[in-house]
């Protein structure tokens, strides 16, 4: 049910010395006294973000989650459905469950054209001319399902494996399981491009996990984080602080929590130095600028391209989990309840170059092998119209894709029905996606547990199956 690794509260150096020095008797007494030590307590005594070995050899070291807030339409992007063309304008001939707005219109064909792309010949619509060129690196899952028709619950579900507020985010779980190799940046970074998904900060929170695993939301622009100041100006103050802290320690006596808090200021200092250089992009080459679309005529594409470039820099520095949020294109995210054509075109235009640039750049630098890239929204959209020219929410069948880190490129997995409404073949739950992500990161989703509320909690709750056919 759970592995021993996450049971014991970690021994501090001092504990270890005491126990060794005192021989078996003390160990036995400690065992007696610690009969409760089932909880995965992360105490203040040890840095919980120190790198930890995975359960087994990992394919990927980092995750970049390109979250398509609002829910892109599967039938307009990666899941072509000729039946929609045939029945365009006619009532849909199947049972339709309650939708979010319950304003069910007629079948609506895809306003774009699908073409077969790459060596694999996988069809991608004209919405994504750049990403289409990378199709041979993608494993496209056409049979995603979610449990919620409403944004916020679906966002929490996609991010935390639960539709309720307040559970740990996937980035927090990954950080908890593996720690981080980057010692001067947070291990879980969210790049805010302008749109915080419904549900807000709790999509990226640590929930019941310790605050060390909180996602840090970086604002776009030159000052991404609050409370980051130039280190130089603080030097004399920090020197004084070190002296005074030393006095505290000698008064109070050796104490792990206090010593760790002192060490924490060193980390904070490194972070203050690292963040400004992370976001400084003026020295990038023309080739890189073109690759990411940093000079695109569409401002949102420039913004998103920059965020994708930062995502690459973050994984390059060893950050464990990066989530990139969507820019504001004026319309409502990917949530086109009306005006599908304009809305989706703007969203695609904003993200297409950046996403493709990121994939190509990671590949060129040999980072794609060790970076798992995941693309998708919280759900998909209905094959029939909402009103005349929009699509409503559809959690019953939608598309996401993965690339890099141990994923078999040029693959299509699963299928929806002829309308593209319900997943009918190889259905994938969000829990399966999480299980697969953890697997590629070298973790068994059933063993990554944290004792809370009398249970060994998991990102995948009591569910989750690895999607083996898309593994390389």
């Amino acid at each position: 049910m759970h592995c021993g690794r996450y049971h014991e509260s970690p021994l501090s150096r001092r504990d270890m010395l005491f126990r060794c020095a005192n021989g078996f008797g003390a160990v036995a007494l400690a065992a007696l006294l610690n009969d409760e030590s089932r909880g995965a307590e992360i105490s203040t005594r040890q840095d919980p973000l120190l790198p930890k070995p995975p359960h087994f050899k990992a394919k990927a070291k980092s995750v970049i989650f390109l979250f398509m807030d609002g829910g892109p339409s599967q039938v307009d992007t990666f899941d072509p459905k000729p039946r929609l063309d045939r029945e365009h304008g006619n009532p849909i001939k199947m049972k339709v469950p309650a939708t979010q707005f319950n304003n069910v219109g007629n079948v609506l064909k895809c306003p774009w054209t699908f073409k077969q792309r790459g060596q694999s010949g996988i069809p991608v619509s004209d919405l994504f001319p750049h990403v289409a060129k990378c199709v041979d690196d993608l494993a496209i899952i056409r049979s995603m399902t979610s449990n919620f028709s409403e944004h916020t619950a679906a966002n929490y579900f996609m991010h935390t494996g639960s539709g309720l507020q307040g559970r740990p985010s996937h980035g927090s779980w990954v950080s908890y399981g593996l720690g981080t190799e980057c010692r001067d940046l947070p291990s879980f970074v969210v790049l805010n491009s302008g749109l915080i998904p419904p549900g807000g900060a709790d999509c990226f929170n640590n929930g019941f996990l310790p605050a060390s695993f909180q996602g840090s939301v970086f604002k776009a622009g030159p000052s991404p984080l609050a409370n980051i100041e130039p280190v130089g100006a603080q030097k004399s103050k920090l020197d004084l602080l070190r002296t005074l802290d030393g006095e505290t320690v000698s008064r109070v006596g050796p104490n792990d929590a206090i010593e760790s808090a002192i060490a924490n200021y060193e980390l904070a200092g490194r972070m203050q130095a690292a963040v400004p250089s992370l976001v400084e992009i003026s020295n990038e080459s023309k080739a890189t600028r073109d690759l990411y679309g940093l000079d695109d005529e569409y401002p949102q594409a420039r913004l998103y391209g920059r965020q994708c470039l930062l995502a690459r820099r973050l994984v390059e520095r060893g950050v464990r989990f990066v989530e990139v949020l969507c820019p504001n294109v004026g319309a409502d995210r990917w949530d086109q309840h009306s005006g599908l054509k304009t809305g989706h075109e703007n969203n695609a235009r904003a993200t297409d170059r950046g996403v493709a640039g990121l994939l190509k750049d990671l590949k060129a630098r040999g980072l794609l092998e060790s970076t798992l890239v995941i693309w998708g929204g919280e759900f998909g959209r209905t094959p029939m119209a909402q009103g005349s020219d929009g699509r409503d929410h559809n959690p019953f069948g939608f598309t996401m894709w993965m690339a890099g880190g141990g994923v078999k490129g040029g693959t299509v997995f699963g299928a929806t029905d002829d309308y593209g409404y319900y997943a009918v073949e190889d259905k994938v739950q969000v829990h399966d996606l999480h299980a697969t992500m953890l697997h590629l990161m070298g973790m068994d989703h059933k063993r990554l547990t944290y004792r809370y509320s009398g249970r060994d909690m998991r990102l995948t709750d009591v569910h989750g199956e690895i999607i083996k056919p898309i593994l390389a």
């Binding site: 007494l29 979010q100 507020q165 805010n192 310790p210 909180q214 409370n227 103050k237 602080l241 505290t248």
Partner: protein, 965 residues
Amino acid sequence: MPIKRRLIYICGLLAYLACTCPASAQDAKPDSSALEFFEKSVRPVLVTRCISCHGDEKQKGGLRLDSRAALMSGGESGPAIVPGKPMESRLVDAINYGDLQMPPKSKLPAVEIQSLTKWVEMNAPWPESLGPKTGATTSTGKPWAERKKHWSLQPVADPALPNVKDTAWPHTPIDRFILAGLESSNLKPTHDADRRTWIRRVTFDLTGLPPTIDEIDGFLKDTSSNAQEKVVDHLLASPRYGERWARHWLDLVRYAETSGHEFDYDLPDAWRYRDYVIRAFNADLPYNQFVTEHIAGDLLEKPRCNPVDGSNESILATGFFYLCEGTHSPVDLRDEEAARIDNQLDVFAKTFQGLTLACARCHDHKFDAITTKDYYALSGVLKSSRHHHAILNEDNEIKPRVAALDELKSQVVAAAKPTTPPLKSPAPIAASKDVVVFESFNTPNYQGWNVARSAFGNSPTGTGDYQLSKEPALVPLKPGLAHSGRTSPRLHGSLRSRTFTIEHPFILFLTAGSGGRINVVIDGFEKIRSPIYGGLLVDVNNPQPHWQAIDVTMWIGHEAYIELSDGATIDYSGGNSRYSNGSGDLIVDEIVFAKSPGEPGPVTAFSGPKVPITDPKSRSLAERYRTLESQLPAPIYALAITEGTPENDRVHIRGNPRSLGDVVPRRFVEAIDTSASGSAPISRRDLAQKLVDPANPLTARVMVNRIWKHHFGEGLVRSTDDYGAMGQTPSNPQLLDWLAREFIRSGWSIKHMHKLMVLSHTYALSSAADTEGDKADPANRLLHRMNVRRLEAEAVRDSVLAVSGRLDPTMFGPSIPVHLTPFMDGRGRPGHSGPEDGNGRRTIYQNVRRNFVAPFLLAFDFPTPSSCTGRRNVSNIPAQALTMLNDPFVVAQAKLWAERVSKNSAAPDEQITQLYLTAFGRPPSAKEKEAAIAYIASQTKNDKSAAWADLCHVLFNVKEFIFIP
């Protein structure tokens, strides 16, 4: 499948089984071609597609599909097949991806679906030789009787004080237990902490603030034997005590003032609950009363009154039930209701009983003696209750004035002797199958309605009722109206119907009014708003009687109640959710359930022609009426619970609200309450009684342990919210039980428990590392020394304010809006940012928005307000250092502090001593003083005040500021 159809088909199946017993028997022996079809086309499908989850090894959903009998007895959601009737067979529905979708991963190929369907149609032939297999076996884990023997479910013992070797050391009974524990492990308590450390420790523990220099001096000079007790009495009498301990309590009830999710709707007036808790702790409200008020404060015959304004105090406690999150426009209201009740029960059970009851929502608890039936028995109690906007000043301020107004009005009528013939009701609406009259208000009282306060009076209008209008004139009212304006348009109130099942697509109201509102509350869902739910809310703003229709087609089969409100309901709109306007009136004559939205009956006037008042005596009475009416106070609203229609819930099989099992009568958890089964369904009042019953093994233990945890750093039971098998066993069981007994003996006095604990010798021990003890007991479970503790988020911020001199001791009232930085973004972001320093008010008075928790608090482990948190995480993250180093609030407070100290124009080394005494409760060491002086001296380029501000800022960052030895 709709429930109705499901029921019909289950009934049909029972009839079928009755005639064909035994169930496994087939109507007639299947012929060989039928069996061949089974072997060729059906068995392979079952074996390859189904058996791995529904066979010998696993029985998901309690179902197995390896015998005809097993198929027919089915699983948790009922029989899998009805032989001969594919359309009624759950198996066929599932493989066609109907309500159930099986196999879960992929739909079967069409040919296999056809085969299985045909097979059911053929009467499900199955060869006899294979013999029937039994149904599912699902029981797992420890036997029930064993689970009930778990330590925490046993009666609280009454242990004698243990004998100890070192009889000189113990000062109090607590010390005897602690020392006995240490001695049995051959350990000794370490040396005592110095007096400065002790007073700093106890002051933070009891008030969340550092001691002032005067308080420290007073204590150090006091050589009397009860000097410590005097300090403790002083602290417990301080209003700061309640502010500190209320916050610990708010962690348990996931206190927040918004609903979170997409738009983070306000929960207006949630802060009144926070104030209630502060007052309760300060007044040392007996804990049994505190608990009773939480569960049933609305049902007390004699509620307590607010000491200042006399309003209803007890009912405020019930608001905790509704401090939960809430979804904006959930598509499935049954899921939403089930999730809400899950959270309410989770918080209820952990907070008061340390039980993880919510684990039993989908299945019997995996480890503890808690069944799914226990869960749904308590779910029924909540389903029988409703969210309520209580008017706190109803009884003490509004009611007497309404009575006086009504008396005056009857005097006016008696004096004016109006001659108009009273109005009569028209003939009743013709009822039929398609038109059902739900309510005509022709009864002498509001029978079957929950009357929430004065606006609607105690009864519908009767013959000879009048309204007194401004002219002045008497307005004769038609009898049989629910009328919220007959005494005054200024009164607020609501009427809520009994719960009913929606069977007709339309609910029609014959109504009139201005500023009135009608809500249809479905499955307890109140955040009525578009999309989806906008139509369930009607604003009545037409003074002429008219028919108004609400389309409920989408919710046929759901449970609902009708709410007629004049004020007393909320307009949900993100950061601006407010009570609806309660001025004006709402009048309802008829409520009809109908098949179509057309008018089911005639519209007649609700009032007759005005009768002017002319005689001087009546005019002067009317004048007094106007004056008194104008003095009606505004309602004071609060979040509360009220009684709904009593109902027993049904087990939700595997937690699925669409898969219903047995009805469970409302009762308490059987493993605690042996009288639970078989007795009459309990009320919330009964439930409260069961919690505070001295025989309850958990209530007192759980609470004394919570108090202990906050004084000693860890609980005697470290898992403060889980007393089950997955929780931890008490480190000193006799002490825990002794404390629990003592708590009850003291009249459930929390302050008594504080005194016992902080005046113990154990509490006075040093926290310094102690080689011997730490070797043997590194986790310090036996308390051979004190634990070093880090201040909680609130105490860190409050200390900054206290030290800088900015702390404003104002208590209570609406929360200070959260300060919004450019880094706080997202939906539901309030329109206005609060002040950076929160007006200097203590952190407990800062607005808690689920989606916009202050980053300062988050950095220091402020708990996510989602469930009960009795034990916060204590983490060590760079954001803490960055906050203390760079947060503009901290920098500004350092400057204020420096300015304050520089005012007393003492010599620098004197000033530095002052800074140390203020921040750390001790003078600086020589080395510290020297370093500080050197720092000030080195900053010659800056102006001196900046150097002092920097020094103050550094002191905020010294670890001793947030770590309490």
